[in-house]
C-alpha cells in the first residue's frame, strides 16, 4: 500500500495512469492552484469552478499524453485550463448578441443602472479590461501570456509546453504583448 502523500510528482503521475487513488492525490495537490489560476484569468468565480472541473476531467482523460519531460504536471494543467478558457470565451462571444444584451439591460439592471456591454464576456474581478483584451488575441498569444504572466511559469517551462525553444518563446511573448497593447489601445479609442 502506498503512502501517496510522500510520493514525488513524476512517480505519482506514472502511478495515476493505472491507480485512481493516485490521480485523486494529484487532484488534491493541484486543485487549488488550478482554481486560483482560472479565477485570476477569468475574473469570475463561477467560471473558475467550471474551468477547474473541466481541466481535471480532461487531465484524467488525457493523462497518458502527459510527458514529464516537457514540464511539470501543474504547468500541463494550466495549459489545459487555458485552452478551456479560450473555448469558453469563444462560446460566449457567439451567444452575446445585441438582442440578448438589450433584453438583459431592460430586465435585470433597470434603466438607471445599465450593465456594461461586456457583461457576458469580461470578468467582474480584477483587471477586467486586460482579461477581456486577452480573450481577443489568437490562441497562441493568449496561451503564452496566460502561462507566462498569469500562471507565473518560467520561460523554459512555457516553451517546453508549447514545444518551442526558449528563444522562440521570448519572441512569441514579445509579439503577444504588442498585440495585447494594440488591442487595449483600440478599446480605449472606441
Amino acid at each position: 500500500m502506498h503512502d501517496l502523500s510522500e510520493i514525488g510528482e513524476r512517480s505519482l503521475v506514472d502511478l495515476a495512469r493505472r491507480d485512481r487513488d493516485a490521480f485523486a492525490e494529484l487532484y488534491r495537490r493541484n486543485v487549488q492552484a488550478v482554481h486560483a489560476f482560472a479565477r485570476r484569468r477569468t475574473g469570475a468565480a463561477a467560471d473558475a469552478e467550471d474551468i477547474t472541473a473541466v481541466t481535471f476531467e480532461r487531465a484524467l482523460r488525457s493523462l497518458h499524453r502527459f510527458d514529464p519531460a516537457r514540464g511539470s504536471f501543474v504547468a500541463w494543467l494550466y495549459r489545459i485550463a487555458t485552452n478551456e478558457i479560450i473555448d469558453q470565451a469563444r462560446r460566449r462571444q457567439r451567444r452575446n448578441t445585441p438582442r440578448n444584451q438589450a433584453i438583459l439591460r431592460a430586465v435585470v439592471a433597470g434603466e438607471e443602472a445599465d450593465p456594461p456591454d461586456a457583461a457576458f464576456t469580461a470578468g467582474t474581478e480584477g483587471d477586467g479590461e486586460l482579461l477581456a483584451a486577452l480573450n481577443t488575441l489568437n490562441d497562441r498569444y493568449n496561451t503564452v501570456l496566460s502561462l507566462r504572466f498569469i500562471a507565473g511559469l518560467e520561460v523554459a517551462d512555457v516553451a517546453a509546453h508549447l514545444g518551442i525553444t526558449a528563444g522562440n518563446c521570448a519572441v512569441l511573448t514579445h509579439r503577444a504583448l504588442a498585440a495585447l497593447r494594440r488591442q487595449l489601445e483600440k478599446g480605449q479609442a472606441s
Binding site: 487513488d21 477547474t52 450593465p115 486586460l130 504572466f149 507565473g152 487595449l184
Partner: protein, 257 residues
Amino acid sequence: MNDDLERRLEQAGRRAVPLLGADRVDDIARRLDARPGHRRAIPWAAAAAAAAVLIVVGVAVAFRRDGGGTLQPVSPPMDTATPTSPPPTSTTTSAGSLVTVPAATTAVPQGQATTVPPGGPTSTTQPGTSGGGTQPATTPPTAPTTTSPPTAPPTTAPPVIPAPSFTVGVQRIGDRLVFTWPPYGGSDGTQFVLVRVTAAGLQHWPVDPTRVARVVPDIGATRTTIDKPDTTRAAWQLVVVGADRQVVAISQVVFSN
C-alpha cells in the same frame, strides 16, 4: 516598451483569490469519480456523493406547488424567509437544506466506501423523480406533495428574495440544457429570468448580470434552453419578475450536469 503591460499582467497573476470551497472540491471529485471507466469510487468523494443523493431525493419531495400545477406568486411577496432560512413547511427538507447539507459533506471522513449511482448527484431534480432520474423536457412535473401552513416565526433576514415556491426541471440534450417549469398562474409576473446561483440560492436582486443565463420575456413560456457544452455541475433558479422589476416568485435551486 512592454514593461508596464508585463507588470499589469503579473499583477493579475498575483491577485489574491479565495480558495475553492471544500464542498466544491468534493463536487468536482464526484464528477471525476462518475466518469465512464472510472466507476470505482475514489474514497474521499464517495461519502459526499451519497449525501448529495439524499439531498436530491429530499428536495424532490419538498417542493411547493399548488394542486393545479401552476406557479403561484408568493403572497405577500416580500415578507417570507429568504433562501438562507429554511422555508416553513411540514417536510423535513427544503431549499434551506441545500445550504446546510452540502457543507456537512465536507466533514465526512475520507475513505468511506459508498456506492453511488453514476450521475446521481448531478442529475435533474425534477419533482417526482427518485434521485438521479431524468424526464423528457416536455414532461410536466408530477403531482406535488402537501405542505402545511407556515408555523415558524418570520425571519429577520432582509425581505428581498421570496422563498422558493415552485420547481424547475433540467435535462441535458447534447450541448444544451433544457429547463422546464409549470405554467405561471399569477398576475404580477411579466417575465422569467434564469439565473446561475450557488447551492444557497439567489441572495441579491437585481442579480449580477454575469449570472443571468437567459431572459424569457414570454410569461406564458414553460421552457427555455441554454448552451452549456461543459458538463460541470451548476445550480440554477428561475425568477419570475414583475413589471416593477422586482422578484414575484422564485424556483427551488435545481442542479444540472
